[in-house]
């Protein structure tokens, strides 16, 4: 380790400025509640001044604390200005409380560590057998589950026959023949509806669709002309001469 490093170690031994302050306070050899904050500030500032070479990142916190303590010292020495908040006496009291608090926890930690500790001073049983829980599983299923399962398997594996119900439809071919035949027998415009066969329901819907396509096809062939006044208005057909 080089020379400059060794100089910085002085501060690395402390766990921060509060730790250093606490150690200095204890060197006053009085109850922390009666520690002289002014004397403490003097000690701290002197300590920091003596350490000329500091590793910057380690020193920064100490220097900030030093600046604050220097401010506290001057505030404590000067006549009290009621306009200045917070009261320097109160700041000093808070610093003293912080030192007391850290000291108490440090002391508590030491007392904890000194207790009879399990595995170091007292021992649990070396080879506990452990307590055992024996689980007995009761399987549950109802008769309905059983037969429903079999039904499910049967339905799944049985050959499935698809039957399509017979439906009345008019094919495009039939519609073409019908429309072209009927349109020739009329002179004037006639609605598409008038070309549909009698009937209702599914057959009529099928006939309407097929007849519409037939009308389009005939128009394309130049055999009829189509007319519609507005969208969704009746569609008229007339044979072309």
């Amino acid at each position: 380790m080089g020379e400059p490093e060794q100089l910085t170690l002085d501060l690395e031994g402390w766990e921060g400025p509060l730790d250093l302050l606490l150690t200095l306070a204890r060197s006053q050899k009085v109850d922390l509640r009666r520690v002289s904050i002014l004397a403490l500030v003097e000690q701290y500032l002197r300590y920091i001044r003596q350490r000329q070479t500091l590793k910057l990142e380690v020193a920064a916190d100490y220097l900030v604390m030093a600046a604050w303590l220097a401010y506290l010292k001057s505030a404590l020495l000067l006549p009290r200005d009621p306009a200045v908040e917070p009261d320097p006496e109160e700041l000093a009291l808070r610093l003293q409380l912080r030192l007391e608090r850290l000291d108490a926890m440090r002391e508590a930690g030491a007392r904890l560590m000194a207790r009879d500790r399990l595995g170091r001073d007292v021992f649990a049983r070396g080879t506990p057998d452990g307590l055992h829980v024996v689980r007995a599983t009761h399987w549950q299923a109802e008769i309905y589950d059983l037969i429903a399962a079999y039904g499910r398997i049967s339905a799944r594996t049985r050959p499935v026959m698809h039957v399509v119900a017979d439906r009345e439809v008019m094919t495009l071919e039939a519609a073409l023949a019908r429309v072209s035949q009927l349109v020739g027998s009329r002179i004037d415009w006639a609605t598409l509806d008038s070309f549909l066969p009698d009937g209702s329901g599914r057959l009529r819907r099928s006939a309407l669709a097929s007849s519409f396509l037939a009308a389009l096809e005939l128009a394309k062939q130049g055999r009829v002309e189509l007319r519609q006044h507005a969208p969704f208005a009746p569609l008229y057909l007339r044979a072309l001469a």
């Binding site: 599983t137 009761h138 059983l146």
Partner: protein
């Protein structure tokens, strides 16, 4: 009973904390020059009739729980569990087709069955091995048990509803074939 002296207490603590039965020489290595044998005799007497006893195993000694208390150290806990879908289907196939081989069950289900499925059914006491079929490979067959009939409240297997009964009850309705079943068939093995 007089309170134990320090030698007895030390031997007691050593026996308790030891990681196994321990001999007199090993005890003495801890406690030094005391009459270990006398301490052991005293402890044996102190613990007679307690829940912990001092026992000798060969040349070594240790504490153990009194043998008559073994039953309190283990605790039984009942768990009720529902049979999985694979389990109930396999059970149904065995019930309807017994005696039936594993290959036949898989052919009927259209899905492989895992070993655990049959194990669970046998553990439940509902299915038993029912001899081998005298065909090449001599596969094991499975059948249901009297416990199966008792659990499901059946006097005999003939009480199981037939296919026609199932159809009449709507249990063969193809609507019942849920999409996950198709998935199950594709993956080729059940989820047990």
């Amino acid at each position: 009973m007089s309170p134990p002296d320090d030698a007895v207490r030390a031997v007691e603590a050593i026996l308790f904390a030891a990681s196994g039965p321990i001999g007199i020489a090993a005890i003495r290595a801890h406690v030094g020059d005391v009459d270990v044998a006398a301490a052991l005799a005293r402890l044996e007497a102190d613990y007679a009739g307690r829940g912990i006893v001092l026992v000798r195993r060969g040349d070594r000694w240790h504490f153990e729980t009194a043998p008559d208390l073994a039953h309190v150290l283990r605790r039984d806990r009942d768990e009720v569990r529902r049979l999985s879908r694979a389990g109930i289907e396999t059970l149904a196939i065995i019930a309807y087709h017994e005696p039936v081989t594993r290959a036949e069950i898989e052919a009927i289900r259209g899905v492989q069955i895992s070993k655990g499925t049959l194990d669970v059914l046998m553990e439940a006491g509902w299915v038993r091995p029912a001899g081998r079929r005298e065909v090449p490979g001599r596969p094991l067959t499975f059948a249901t048990t009297p416990g199966f009939l008792a659990h499901f409240g059946l006097a005999s297997r003939r009480d199981l509803p037939g296919i026609d009964d199932l159809r009449a009850a709507g249990l063969l309705d193809p609507v019942d074939v849920a999409p996950d079943e198709a998935l199950e068939v594709e993956t080729g093995t059940d989820s047990d």
